[in-house]
Symmetry: C2
Subunit: 324 residues, 2 copies
């Protein structure tokens, strides 16, 4: 039996797991990230976490093929470098090289959304397929693209960012400095903004009831709850959100033509409320219509373990020969 | 010496050339396409054209590695099938298989813009690079994406269509049935539409002088000429066109991070009038700013021969083993 280590490097916690050949997590541990520390300290803790996992699981080091890391920010996967992470305050951190030296095993690094997409292809909602686009609808919009079973990164660092392609040029402000990116319309943050705006303009909206009269308490569920209760104002926000999400998915299809498009992140808990109209929308609007391949739109299956499984899947059977 | 045949299948003419190992065209011939005919007749003529080229060049059949075809429309490159071409009225035409049977050599098919991009990488303005995005600004907006020296098609037919990703959701009508695609803002057709609109709203604009007082005579050059002559109305149209093109290029960079982005088609004759502001715009707006890789924006180099050279380049040295 051979094992892979998957590490999900988050802003709050570092989660690591031992993954077997069937992409099942045998053992998982988590420690706080404490992002204010230097990268050296974070990497030292990651290495210690991995060593303790291996010891606790009682597997020999020689059975471990290597470790993969899913990192936030812009990653140069070929070089194993975190080029830039705003949240971590990291620039040009040689994460792959440093962790490989500490663990004496091959290490691969990719963006966290890329890893989540690969995890879904290996063991999640896309496991029947080799081609998948994952959009994570959270604070921001992450995207992972898997083509022919491998992560598509683009040619240089900073590619595969569907969340930062335009939906409405000159539209809403985006965190990336541009205006009108997909992220500025379909992130949970954008949905909350639009929910507040709609309620602010409509004192009779049931949105007010679902946030106890305090717009600060609006979250990504509020507008769906109000819409389900029959509120027209909320339904308008939901319909617009779904249409924008549909446009973003059509863009992804017109470029990548995956077998399946998966939605992850908190908003995707709405399930069929999203996927039913989205499948209809995408079926109608893709380039070349029904002459082209129309993928299914579904919900990600692995939730929190996609990151660990996908990071582990960065390590291929022949990664051993790769030296940083 | 080994040779490849490149075929550029256009709406007006079928152009074919014999291409040597240095990606130079030794001999080129052209015949009318006559699109109203059946696909069988067109393919028979293509085969006859290739045979006459080989005969005239005096090269032996055994020195020809195969033939590549750049076709308009939606192409399934893996299967050599033209899935759909609106202009030709073709659906599910097994072009690769039929031409291969007629010529007794391996045949590969891809979309025409894909072939042009590959041609630029092998022998044109991107020949120093392995990663290139080409946007052809003509009647529509074609796009070709080359990653690691090979055409990126997406997983299924109908991908890599940057012209049909949104710039302004719900914006201008696009030929694909959606609204607000990049094509609806930066094609020559869109530029002519915007030139006419601007002149229509401004009787004093010098645009009127450059089209002899007849908006029907506006072409893709008119607004650039009027802008160069100092007309503010025309300059506004040009500035907006360049900004939209910049947005579309930033989208392409945020997804594909190529070494270089090339512009082809009639509008690109404006050269530095486009590339100077576009390089500045793209440098400012890409995701991760100066922490990410910022490609150069340039003008395609091969003009009309890119299609033949790129189609020939579909044939790899080991394509011989591939049978349709």
């Amino acid at each position: 039996m051979q094992f892979r280590i998957g590490i999900d490097l988050g802003g709050t916690n570092i989660k690591a797991g031992i993954v077997n050949e069937n992409y099942e997590i045998l053992l998982e541990k988590s420690i706080p990230t404490l992002v204010k520390r230097s990268a050296d300290e974070v990497i030292r803790d990651m290495a210690a976490l991995v060593r303790s996992l291996i010891q606790e699981a009682g597997i020999g080091m020689q059975t471990v093929l290597g470790a993969g890391v899913g990192s936030p920010g812009t990653v140069d996967a070929k070089k194993g470098i975190v080029v830039y992470s705003n949240n971590f305050g990291w620039e040009d951190i040689r994460l792959g090289e440093c962790l490989s030296a500490a663990l004496h095993m091959p290490v691969r690094v990719s963006n966290d959304a890329n890893c989540a997409a690969l995890g879904e292809v290996r063991a999640g909602a896309a496991r029947k397929y080799a081609n998948c686009v994952l959009l994570t609808l959270g604070t921001g919009v992450g995207s992972g693209i898997v083509i022919d079973g491998h992560i598509f990164e683009g040619a240089h660092a900073g590619g595969a960012e569907l969340g930062h392609t335009s939906l409405v040029a000159d539209g809403e402000e985006c965190t990336c400095g541009r205006r009108g990116c997909l992220e500025a319309y379909v992130s949970a943050t954008a949905l909350i903004r639009d929910t507040r705006r709609a309620a602010g303009a409509d004192p009779a909206s049931m949105i007010w009831r679902f946030c106890n009269g305090d717009l600060e308490r609006v979250n990504g569920r509020t507008v769906f709850d109000a819409s389900a209760a029959g509120d027209d104002c909320a339904r308008g926000v939901v319909d617009r959100y779904i249409r924008y999400l549909g446009e973003g998915i059509v863009n992804a299809v017109n470029l990548f033509r995956p077998d399946i498009v998966l939605l992850g992140g908190g908003v995707c808990k709405q399930g069929e409320i999203l996927t039913k109209p989205l499948n209809a929308y995408v079926g109608r609007h893709c380039f070349a219509g029904d002459k082209g391949f129309i993928p299914e739109i579904g919900i990600a299956g692995l939730e929190n373990s996609a990151g660990i499984i996908g990071a582990a899947a960065l390590i291929l059977a022949d990664t051993e020969g790769v030296a940083f």
